[in-house]
Symmetry: D2
Subunit: 360 residues, 4 copies
């Protein structure tokens, strides 16, 4: 379950050498792609965060991430009385620290404007300083000029969207000019169903990011099994180019609490690769299916039919890393049948889980 | 980290099918022997325990044990107004339930007398009922007649040994007649240093058992990392005969809290097999040793020398399942040296840890 | 947070005296009634459970309950080869053990038939043995004759209700004859929305019970903050008569996971008594409301209006035992206003939370 | 158990308002003094720490401290390429943030030299910048000139004291000149018995501090019940003057893991105030003592006599926040007696627990 990592020792006054353990996030790779665990939105003391950039790398190591972007606000420099630096500085510090670890750090910034249009993240940047402009359109243009990738952050943030999550004319303009390639469907502790639907309708790449400002453990209770939201990127390899190609092709999914949000075919492949059928045993009156879930994900199944001669669960949760025996009663004489159910926490659209049929 | 197990489903009124997860206890096998995790002392409702015998099997599955013995008191039948049964009954129920699981159940009983001589466990029995005798010597003789194995339970139990843990003339008689082959060095939450010394002096097989009466989770807080005490048996295979051979040859160790108690050569092999040296890097002024501990055991190291030209830790803990980088400073010009330390939680005698020297 | 309790010491072989800690469930009393925490459905080895009846009392002490009923199946005696006893026996053992503790034990039984009509619990019994009848109607009649109280257990149990949760003609007959006074809206890990609606439509007393068979900690992970489902009974005092009066008057609510299920006026009073307004501070542009939640319950608030000149949260969770500062922005000049929201985890009907308006 | 606190709301991008909960450390006040929970040694990004100074205040709120000092290294400015500021700056930020909270922030610095003499903390400073001197003696003199208080940090740090913990001639000089008023007996995860003895022999005020550099949760696992080391200060009120008076008078104790380290009379008063005797019940053969421990401290009791006609525990742990019933057997006819035991985790000297006698 745990994959360990060589860490540069940090000798601390007070006399200990730090030992870190790297968690392994058990979500399977796909047939054709690696499943990279990514967080493309976070802050350090170089904008309005509260930790040194290296802490974001330590957290990523511990939590089993593959890729992070520290995306300081261009416009919100909360500690500017004490820290004056290039907008590239947090990246430089984190990237140097991450060398030799399993963490890939991408350069990014948060373009931070009032609503409309709100906040946008630009990643795959060469020079963050070029984004310091008055007009957001200029910052977007500077991003695209550098070959950067732009996504809309927390579109349903109630501080900027008090009543409902609205797509405004300004967003249409940004979208039409090619300045919005992705959107956060999840930010921190919030999921935005409207943004989920827009991602589907407008072919936007889906993101789920932590937007963390505090030390991570302050806002996520790992002892209770919580995890930060992650953007799963399905890439041919763990390189910036392959990640960028995956984002351009919209091959992402969002891991949020007990939910996975993404395209049907991807979620189906993850479900099938996560759960092995160990054994099917049939007696005169019952069928016993032994399953083993090798992933960190639970799967919440709800029956989606009536009148099947096989009487089976109406609701059933396959727990992470557990082996289950599902008992099915035959109400008629029959040696086989088909189970129809929805996996309600694999969201292919707002409110719509993954529909499955299984022959037994 | 987790090894899963096929469990017979238990359909419960109220509508769920139970899923169990088997913990894997990460303590390495030896070159020549399997390391079996055993608990040879526990109770169910068939004497003065508070759970059905099958619960002891469920607990053993979850906690990663290999072998258990449910050892009901012959003399203390707390629930006899409601339950009347052969002294073999708890074994029969547990053994039937354990079929097809990873748990091996041995037949045993607790011969329960006042001090002297106190309580003794008899295992590898054919018929527990034969041990229902007035005189403990008769019960011991009946055990030996069946080919059973006898060990003294909780010799330092303060209810029977109020002031100090004493070896009485009666114990000498029992020992001389071949009725005491082993001794509990650990019982429940207590370690008895006197018993540890007696085991060394008199060649007794060392045991550490839970003596559990309540549901296990009532007395051990697994969420805080606690585990029941276990007797590690180093056997050629997981069979009753091989376990018996190991007990006869005194090839056991006791896992208690963060301690391992046993013979020096066995503890040394476990230490060496638990910790891998990943890398040694030498600079002009320092040596960096990267270690990886693959076991559930911490190792508490204390330096046992002065004046070494290599300046290294005075105390150091290698955490379970962690990778550490130990930094050593060269105080003189030298490219190598020797570290001398004691692993204080690997107890080769009361108060005496495992002494090690490592060339680097 | 903790209320402690004098426990009869249990001297255990192996040498410890058990110390138990009683959790205090922080759900406020009402103006006119005590809020008693109750579980009216559980099993021991005297039917098909796996623990001695006293374990149910220990669990209730630890978890902070006030009242339990051990309700053995009349018809399912899984351990009858070893235990033969009156159906009253589990009660007798538990009630004797509970003397002098904070736990009140009620006498009850589970009338266990195929569907229809399924399983029913009878509590407030004098003699459980009288319920051993072939026809469930005879058992119900015997219950009523003794002055007992009857409720339908796990009406949506998928083993008995494979497709949907149905109210059958037999249930109408039982109801019409006065044999069904209550219904389990929650059993173990399941909530039945259909049963919730029936309770509203037919004036049935709502229950939420654990139906526990294993040791409690096997099925509820307390370290992760889980709790067993409880029936909250709003009674004038903690006596059998007062509890019975409350059940007859339908003054109950169900605590399940993070939800409270019950009548609007009761849930409103609990919400208001749980959350104190510490302070309201108004500036030119903002209003800051400081709240303190003194209860174990979270409250999930969702805004239920649009166009309010006060811009406030769209979703907000008031965490248990936390102090929050809610920030409200004035979008127009105004010194006061009204917040409209639903507390979605206080369920007054299936899918319908408690609607609130707050003037500020 | 929890005392809540009004916190200034922090509106975070991404849409949540932070709720914090203040832990209450349950260690009783003395008859004449408040028991203040203090940590006088920690770091932020303004020297070689990894968090913004306000994080230290947030941590102190959550963990229930009363007083902290952020004591940046004068000589180790790890982030000086990005942060240039007065040595007073971290205090200014933290003190401003702490206004209106329960946390009192003291101004301090760490004078950071090679061994000898090693590192020293200066607290109760007016101007940290005055301590930036080449010679440590000048920095000490500047501290005393300001009315500051000086203590020796981590005297047994193995990076500076490779073999044994030595008191060097330089330390005698510092001590004789009045530049060492206190000493860290505990730093981070280490206890130094030599320093403990020196504190006793030389009348030094004892300290136990965290010396934290990372986010606190990275180095202390609160979910497993760990806590940072704290200096308990017994003061007439929670003001800088009263704290200073207590330090001058050596009225401190150190809370480290499960140990309390300090002077006998103080530890005795804490023990007596922590544990209430609820009830003593005597039968013909036994005495039952019901105790209630209202504190966060366990108490490990070991019998310190032989031959008492009362047979009682040889070892016994009174758990935090638990009620225990201790059973004592009368081996002779007697209606009263005296228990003699040592509380081994209340350390009045290295290796020496608090000796107690209790008449019953």
């Amino acid at each position: 379950m745990k994959k360990l990592l060589l860490l540069t020792a940090i000798l601390m006054a007070g006399g200990t050498i730090q030992a870190q353990v790297r968690n392994h996030v058990a979500i399977p790779d796909l047939d054709d792609y690696l499943t990279l665990k990514c967080d493309f939105h976070m802050h350090s003391v170089f904008s309005d965060g509260l930790v040194w950039p290296t802490v974001r790398v330590d957290e990523a190591i511990r939590e089993g991430l593959d890729v992070i972007a520290i995306t300081e606000h261009i416009e919100v420099l909360r500690h500017k009385d004490d820290i004056t630096a290039s907008h590239n500085r947090a990246f430089d510090i984190a990237a140097k620290y991450a060398k030799g670890t399993d963490i890939l750090v991408l350069k990014g910034s948060e373009i931070t404007k009032g609503m409309p249009p709100g906040h946008f993240n630009a990643i795959f940047l060469d020079d963050c300083d070029a984004l310091e402009t008055q007009d957001p359109m200029d910052a977007f243009a500077a991003t695209v000029e550098q070959g950067g990738f732009i996504f809309w952050n927390h579109p349903g943030w109630d501080s900027q969207q008090p009543d409902t999550t609205l797509w405004m004319p300004e967003h249409t303009e940004i979208y039409d000019r090619g300045f919005m390639q992705g959107i956060e469907v999840v930010n921190f502790h919030s999921y935005y169903p409207e943004a989920h639907q827009w991602a589907i309708d407008r072919n936007l790449t889906m993101f789920g990011n932590s937007d963390i400002h505090h030390p991570m453990q302050t806002d996520f209770d790992f002892a209770r099994g919580e995890h930060r939201p992650m953007t799963l990127v399905f890439a041919t390899e763990k390189t910036p180019a392959a990640i960028r190609e995956a984002l351009d092709e919209r091959r992402t999914a969002v891991w949020f609490e007990d939910k996975l949000i993404g395209q049907e075919e991807i979620l189906r492949e993850i479900f099938e690769k996560s759960v092995d059928t160990i054994n099917v045993r049939k007696t005169a009156t019952r069928i016993y299916i032994t399953l083993k879930n090798n992933s960190d994900l639970p799967f919440h199944l709800v029956k989606r039919e009536q009148g099947n001669p096989l009487a089976y669960f109406r609701q059933y949760t396959i727990q992470p890393h557990r082996q289950h025996v599902i008992t099915i009663k035959k109400t008629q004489e029959s040696t086989s049948g088909r189970l129809k159910y929805e996996v309600t926490n694999l969201l292919v659209a707002p409110g719509k889980g993954l529909y499955c049929e299984t022959d037994i």
